[in-house]
């Protein structure tokens, strides 16, 4: 799949933002006044910034409000609805905490749950697609949620908890790759199955429908990702999981330690998210005789 920067930035930043909101509304860290304002400001910048970034890849962003209407069937619509609900509820919690020094624990818990549901909906936009077998597995939502918990705990300065989530995240990421590498062929992803001509023999593309590019190939037959997949996987595991987790467990907790861990984790998060898109095979590419075993 084409790794569109707007979507990578959106999923990565809004995931971090909702992660931080989750911890803040659960009272981690226990802050109030100006410090609380700063923490919530950071969380909202990430969450809202990510959501705004997601509108940049739309063909007609002026109609984006219509996207809240089809929550009955569409994970994309649900994501919009839950993101707005989460922002409103956590906003109430943040306002009463910052301006009135009042903690509303029940509102906080609801806000945290809504934030996590919002991230789950984001993950299901990808996880639901049968056409992209690598994404169509239970580890996809697990991966998004663990990235959110690890990044959120890190930003919320819950450093030991962040380290724990990062270790689990590393395992989930490995599982996602192991499952993902098999998924296309488990789903009968061959040119013979796609064309229904397999009963006649081996199929190959003799002539493409068009001499140049088209929307389908640009959007769904991205191939650069797979070329560097192995290197990027090592970068992802090292930076998103192992290095920051080791640092947080070994070094004395300080602003500097947390700062370095955040930078390391961000590098891993963006490498992993880029790879998540770039590496994913869409079955339409089978009609173009790509993705041979």
């Amino acid at each position: 799949m084409h790794p569109a920067p707007s979507v990578i930035i959106f999923t990565a930043l809004s995931g971090l933002g909702f992660g931080l909101l989750t911890f803040l509304t659960l009272g981690i860290p226990d802050v109030s006044g100006k410090t609380a304002f700063f923490f919530f400001f950071l969380a909202y910048t990430l969450a809202v910034g990510g959501l705004i970034s997601s509108t940049f890849h739309l063909g007609n962003p002026q109609r984006a409000l219509k996207a809240f209407s089809q929550w009955r069937t569409s994970w994309l619509s649900r994501e919009g609805v839950f993101a707005v609900l989460a922002l409103i509820v956590t906003g109430i919690y943040a306002a009463t905490l910052v301006f009135f020094d009042q903690r509303l624990p029940f509102v906080g818990i609801v806000g945290a749950v809504l934030s996590m549901i919002s991230v789950f909906c984001t993950s299901m936009i990808y996880g639901q697609l049968k056409t992209v077998p690598r994404w169509n597995q239970p580890m996809t939502p697990a991966l998004f949620i663990l990235f959110t918990l690890a990044g959120g705990a890190l930003l919320a300065a819950a450093l030991k908890m962040a380290a724990l989530f990062m270790v689990i995240l590393g395992g989930a990421q490995l599982l996602h790759w192991l499952n993902g590498d098999k998924r296309l062929y488990q789903d009968g992803g061959t040119i013979e199955a796609a064309t229904g001509l397999g009963h006649l023999g081996k199929v190959r593309l003799l002539e493409s429908p068009h001499s140049g590019e088209n929307y389908l190939l640009k959007e769904m037959a991205h191939e650069i990702g797979r070329k560097h997949a192995r290197k990027l996987r090592i970068v992802t595991i090292l930076f998103a999981s192992l290095l920051p987790a080791l640092l947080l467990l070994m070094a004395a907790p300080s602003h500097a330690t947390a700062g370095i861990a955040i930078v390391l984790h961000l590098v891993g998060l963006f490498a992993g998210r880029w790879l998540f898109f770039a590496e994913a095979e869409h079955v339409v590419a089978l009609y173009y005789d790509k993705h041979r075993a």
Binding site: M1, H57, L58, G59, N60, P61, R63, A64, K66, A67, F68, S69, Q70, R72, T73, S74, W75, L76, S77, G80, I125, Q128, L129, K130, T131, V132, D187, G188, I191, A193, A194, T195, G196, L197, H199, L200, G201, K202, V203, R204, L205, L206, E207, S208, P209, H210, G212, E213, N214, Y215, L216, E219, M220, H282, V283, V284, Y287, Y288
Partner: protein
């Protein structure tokens, strides 16, 4: 509304005969011509006369070679457009309700004034039947020429999809799959047509009639079945030709 109808009164669709299609691309061109000039946003091209032309098409033809072991290869031309699936994943993923499947005839359409151009429906389609128009930023797809098939301003013989009307080989047929005695139902049954890429679970309405089995030519390992007729050594030439033959061989 992106909830799919439980059933549709009609199941309008195409039967595409892979045994007959010659890959002339006439359906591609007539589709583009009709659909760029009629319902919805035009099908734009970018850099149409330049080095890297790209454009929006609702119908595209792949050409495949199919080869079984110890048999000659065969060519199959494969036109591909929206299959108007009963379980259309492109409809349910749409966040705005722009994509919908009509309860009356099963046609899958896009309401372009509601489409935000997010592209998720194109991702959800296993067949590559949807293309985002680069100029208009809205999703384009086959409408089964909804503006032809019910159009009483057209002569009756023209009230079928443009691709079907134009096919010079008669490889494309239009009809109602809900009626077991319709043209398309009957030919699909006789030819043993199966749903395309059934692994994806989309329950497509359109059917592809598979290529008929080729006559099994007995070649005894010699591919050229005409060679016995070309064998000059079988009857040595006489008269002038015979002399010429000997003279030329002597040189």
């Amino acid at each position: 509304m992106t909830t799919l109808p439980q059933t549709t009164q009609k199941k309008l669709g195409l039967a595409i005969d892979l045994d007959i299609c010659v890959g002339c691309h006439a359906c591609v061109i007539n589709c583009k011509e009709w659909n760029t000039a009629n319902y919805g946003a035009p099908l734009s091209d970018q850099d149409a006369y330049g080095a890297n032309p790209v454009g929006t098409f609702l119908n595209r033809i792949h050409t495949y070679e199919v080869k079984a072991e110890n048999k000659p290869a065969q060519t199959v031309h494969f036109p591909k457009s929206c299959l108007h699936c009963e379980d259309a994943p492109c409809v349910t993923v749409c966040p705005t309700g722009a994509s919908y499947k009509r309860a009356e005839d099963g046609i899958v359409l896009v309401n372009e004034s509601d489409c935000i151009g997010c592209g998720l429906c194109a991702w959800a389609c296993p067949y590559g039947a949807r293309e985002l128009d680069a100029k208009e930023g809205v999703m384009k797809k086959c409408t089964l020429c909804v503006d032809r098939i019910y159009n009483e301003n057209l002569p009756e013989e023209d009230r079928e999809p443009a691709c079907v009307r134009t096919c010079p080989a008669n490889a494309r047929h239009f009809g109602d799959y809900a009626d077991p005695n319709s043209n398309v139902s009957v030919m699909s049954r006789i030819r043993g047509a199966v749903p395309l890429f059934d692994e994806q679970g989309t329950k497509p309405v359109n059917r592809y009639l598979p290529p008929r089995p080729k006559a099994d030519i007995q070649t005894d390992g010699d591919i050229d079945i005409l060679s016995p007729f070309l064998d000059t050594a079988a009857s040595p030439p006489k008269g002038l030709l015979g002399w010429l033959d000997k003279a030329l061989e002597a040189i």
